[in-house]
Subunit: 285 residues, 6 copies
């Protein structure tokens, strides 16, 4: 169970509220790269963790709990960026004649509000659990497979796209407070990338965990094509060479080879439609 | 652009059609661990690939093209498993009296069809792009971040959960043809896990690619907490030790430490609601 | 605006309530082939109808209003099918020992309820606006393009898949009341297929409406390939001949020809990633 | 920010694991009546709370934090119900011949697993954030309007449907541990219904809060129809009388009256389609 | 079944078409606070209404039918606001040089159209059933629980957020016709808030309906915590006092108390992963 | 299975990159009228095709394969339009003072980026499988009914709305390269409209295929109302006459008639709620 300290994990200050930036921050709340995703992903992985070693459950729940605090920081940042329109806009009366002509008779506040409508129409100037396009976060993005190593790679993926997003937001930020908050979040993403990879190392690295799941006897998979790079060029042009087209495989259990893809199967031939299946008569032959 | 050979990449045979297994196979078509996802993910990563080295685009498009053929194999397998009900069911008249009572007056065919209704009601006994619960695949699961290393980890994650699913389907399969098809697909997932990790190695491994994105100057992130494991226990119980709680970080650029999480920020204080914002009067103070 | 008569458009009677059939009927309520879809599609097409001739708006609104009554009939049918479990189930105590063993200790009512849980858990035995898998209807399926002819074909498509579904439900129905209700709905789908095609005819048939939109000067489209069937076989095998591979086109404005698809463009070459775009350094070359 | 105690808020015990009940419990995790919904709804309401009185934010965050612990309890309950199949099923070999015939050659375990496939195929026997049909929870159900009174009614609605669901699960439960867990959760829903209504009372009850938002000057709304019950019967049959058809309104500010609905507007007449709008020529008049 | 009068329930006039406002109005059509939601919610509640007293079904269907006419009014308003661009924009040629530079070479019409693209690209200048961000309405928002009191609170919630939205739109409107239409709709929302609360009163008010469902014997819920406000502060800081922290409960059946939340359960301990479950070997212990 | 030629089907050139147009093009990638939809729809129809004549499967797979190349062209076009901001924007410093005032202190690049945020925040300047509002494509739009004629009309509908969209994009395009690409795509849509209608003709035209499905004995549908246009005007005003209100039906099997809609059924009367169903006591009567 959980407890709260109503103070934030890290300071969130906004000197010059920027409604556009509020909208951008939504991506870090409700985008697939965002904080709801990682918090819930780590919780569900932790709550479902099976196996003799409780340390993975322990680790997941610590970090999930931390991520909740990140949603809170971002929601606060959105609300502060919507706090009031920047002074230059509120005092923009002087340029209204020009702007009115440009924008087809609208005043600039209206145009800006138009771009921000969901924050006004639905939330009264607060954050909501959707991305920067207003698409609500959908929990199918919570990956928790029941396989520890697969889950760790899902987490590395989430933290990698997450830090990419945080860096893009940092680069787009103009407010010092926002830059400060984001430079902390970027640091946390650095650590989170590390820690999931540390689990992989602890489990034996590439040789220990691969192929995932390592509990399936590898001799039961097709031994002919399990380390082949399949080339699909219509005219047989070989693929550009890379680490994956030759040499020992990453898990040390095979040798990379290039295989020009050809059909090993036949053209399928489905039976006719059933008489009572609602098909056309011509399909029942 | 693309070409087709109407033969399948690998043989798909079904000796004893099994509508329940058809439904399970849907997870590998339209589940988040499935083949539509990887095909489209690799295509969009390839079509958007930027950078001086064209080999990554090349690699992505080869494999995406292969994955299209996997969707085709699975769709064929679903159709064949729905081809006809197993003979023992069609001839189950002898047990109808018992079964009818058990199932509340229904005959067994009806019950079984009830469990399979979408395949009957909407497709006339064919595959469709949804998972085994009938939830349609949603393209927000196509991860293509514009960052090559992040995308590679997304791909490892997809192939790891994908091979876990294929193994579970293999374990659930009773038909030799289905086991054969799946033992090929499992082998391909083995390779695909390998090849995305091979890109990571080629890019410099943990030291070269981390933290992702490596283009952001790491000295701009918070230097105090970028290699700290944050512990969140309410009573200060330290986290269970692991590779992530001490020792050099995976990228060789820091040292793991445990940090007992405490608020560094303050309790936020949002301003009152705007007079025209549709809040209650009491919120406008 | 609208009025109601609380009587149903057509009698809905259920003699032997069948919870499985209730679940199947959901597809006709909230499936993409269902009645919410057509009602809302015709309303939105009607409400947005533009053009000098008001008869199309008139027609659309009449039929949309009829379709509302179909949702009502189906919702009633679902509720009646859930009214009470069939007597043979309620009195099934005699077979409980056998069934209990078969089903792993559960009694048959529990198993049946398990298959029906959403109707119990969320609605208390009533219809809800989702398909037979419980996937909620999503209004992106309301096609209203602003082009009258395109909309008519969308409507033919909806009524065609709709009648296919109604026929499948008819074939699955065991209750005379349900068969009666469905034989009425099937008849209405027959008419609705007709009426949208009648608009196409009134607008000039294939020659008058095609290509849609007919307001775009056809000489502005590529004149080389607008009546070519593109063949995509990797080895150049020609496509199987059909009405579409030769002879005059349906609109009488061209001649069908087969064209073996070949690339007319070049391999694309995107520029490097921007320095501040959160890509890896290696992509910025 | 947040802290965790890895012990559960209330004991969760399962004596006889029941995979069907695990699936039912999913509705309480990821259904629209479930715990993810209330936890996140109260968090987002709290994080966006504006106004001079901080007590509402305080209250919302306390309860949101509690609800997180409820998701945890339910996720644990699902995992325990999937822990192992009931012994009677594992030992069901004796009835396999009969069952095999009934179910079309499948053994009973397979059938049961078929009904549970998502828990096997995607999670390896753990909870996931979807409802009992496998439809993922979608964050558009987090209602946080920026209006305190509206939000309180949204919360009463959530706790009312939530307690209805918990009672249905209690009635369906066979395991004493599950009944115990649910009898605690039902009690908490009782309190939560109370507390949101207590806010309404504190804000002045019906007279103080209605109509919501009370910050809009009521004299600006249409004074003719703001306390009329509109009757829509086609033949003018009056509505059945109730508290809402006569007498003083709930807020004491009006008098309920019945108004037979008639069109006050005209038939709309939209202009023709624009020449460049992709409509048919016939729509451009 | 239903009938139509093609005249609108209330006049809809637009003097100065405003495409931005058209987009805002979409929230009232296809937003979760919008009219499709209430129309369909009341219909499904009415069609599934059970119980000896038919007056609730009667009431629900009257109002649902009215709400259909509101969707129609709003769809008309959207179409009229898209009718033509405001004259000042069409004649904005004089400022094109400046604007072109500002907007990167685009003319202002293009920029404005860019912001409105879905109305142009998909509908040809008409309304569609999505919110102001273009997110389609999803029928999972139709709450119909089978419990009359719970449904009434869901309806109060819908009408409360609905009136908040209508007020925000009124405040944003510049056109007198739009203000007139909205002042009527706001009045109707006033009544609708009233009428659902009137049902609650008729059913006995707080004492009669609470806790919902009132059919579950309250002595079967946990008697220790059913009127406790759970405080979750990590350091034990008591919650701010309010109506909900002390005094008689709203239903008169208990006494509010504050309870400092502590774990009553233990840390859960799930069994190891099954050997055939696709987990890593290390999880099988 | 499939092969790739990395050259594009048709040249894609962009002289003046236009991020707004990139966003518009997304509708043709991930909109319901877009290319992912048709590619996947034709694939699933082809993979599930049943019946004695393999030519329909052949035709569907050829065209599906072509459509894949169209997604590729559009994804390339999006990436090229995002390649770099137009020079006039990059050099817009001179107008920054004015613009800054207009836009409330923002520089124009920021505003423009704000409108494009998803392309920056999530993709690093590449296409993604969502529509122009950022709503991800959802595979429930893949219509494949198992009925050949129904599927053909679904395809005509898709290509009709598809060509309408392409024409709208053509009309909005300013760049010659984009106009060239679109004039090719418009031509292909012309052909695709033709070819699906050619199948209908080959199957016997209106008389042969209607009503769909033609395998259901038409004498089993209600013979009284299967060619009636139902009029729903509350006051009995007859519908405006059209091809659908009189004369022979399109399939030559009936005669169109107008029928004034009246209830043929009774007001439904559902039983009381079950005692254990979580309803209010008052509903159990």
């Amino acid at each position: 169970m959980f407890y709260i300290d109503k103070r934030l994990q890290y300071p969130v200050k906004v000197t010059n509220p920027d409604p556009q930036f509020a909208r951008m921050l939504q991506q870090a709340i409700g985008g697939v790269e965002g904080e709801i995703r990682v918090a819930m992903q780590y919780f569900f992985q932790g709550w479902g963790a099976r196996g003799p070693n409780p340390k993975y459950r322990d680790m997941l729940l610590h970090t999930a709990t931390e991520e909740l605090g990140h949603i809170e920081m971002l929601a606060t940042a959105v609300a502060l960026n919507l706090e009031k329109a920047p002074a230059s806009l509120q005092e923009a009366g002087a340029v209204d004649a020009v702007v009115g002509a440009v924008m087809g008779g609208e005043n600039p506040r209206h145009v800006l509000e138009g771009m921000l409508h969901r924050h006004i129409l639905s939330t009264g100037m607060a954050a909501y659990p959707a991305n920067s396009d207003g698409v609500p976060f959908d929990m199918s993005h919570i990956y928790a497979s029941g396989n520890l190593a697969a889950d760790m790679y899902c987490n590395v993926a989430a933290e990698s796209t997450g830090r990419v997003l945080a860096v893009r937001l940092y680069n787009a930020a103009h407010d010092q407070g926002m830059k400060d908050m984001l430079h902390f979040m970027i640091a946390r993403d650095t650590m989170h990338q590390q820690q999931w990879l540390a689990v992989i190392e602890e489990l034996g690295g590439h040789e220990g965990v691969l192929p995932i799941p390592n509990s399936f006897p590898q001799e039961m998979e097709d031994q002919t094509h399990n380390y082949d790079f399949f080339a699909s060029a219509a005219d047989g042009t070989p693929p550009m060479p890379g680490r994956w087209t030759g040499g020992p495989s990453m898990d040390g259990k095979g040798e990379f080879t290039v295989f020009q893809n050809v059909p090993l199967g036949e053209e399928p031939n489905l039976g006719p439609a059933r008489p009572d299946s609602g098909a056309q008569k011509e399909q029942m032959g």
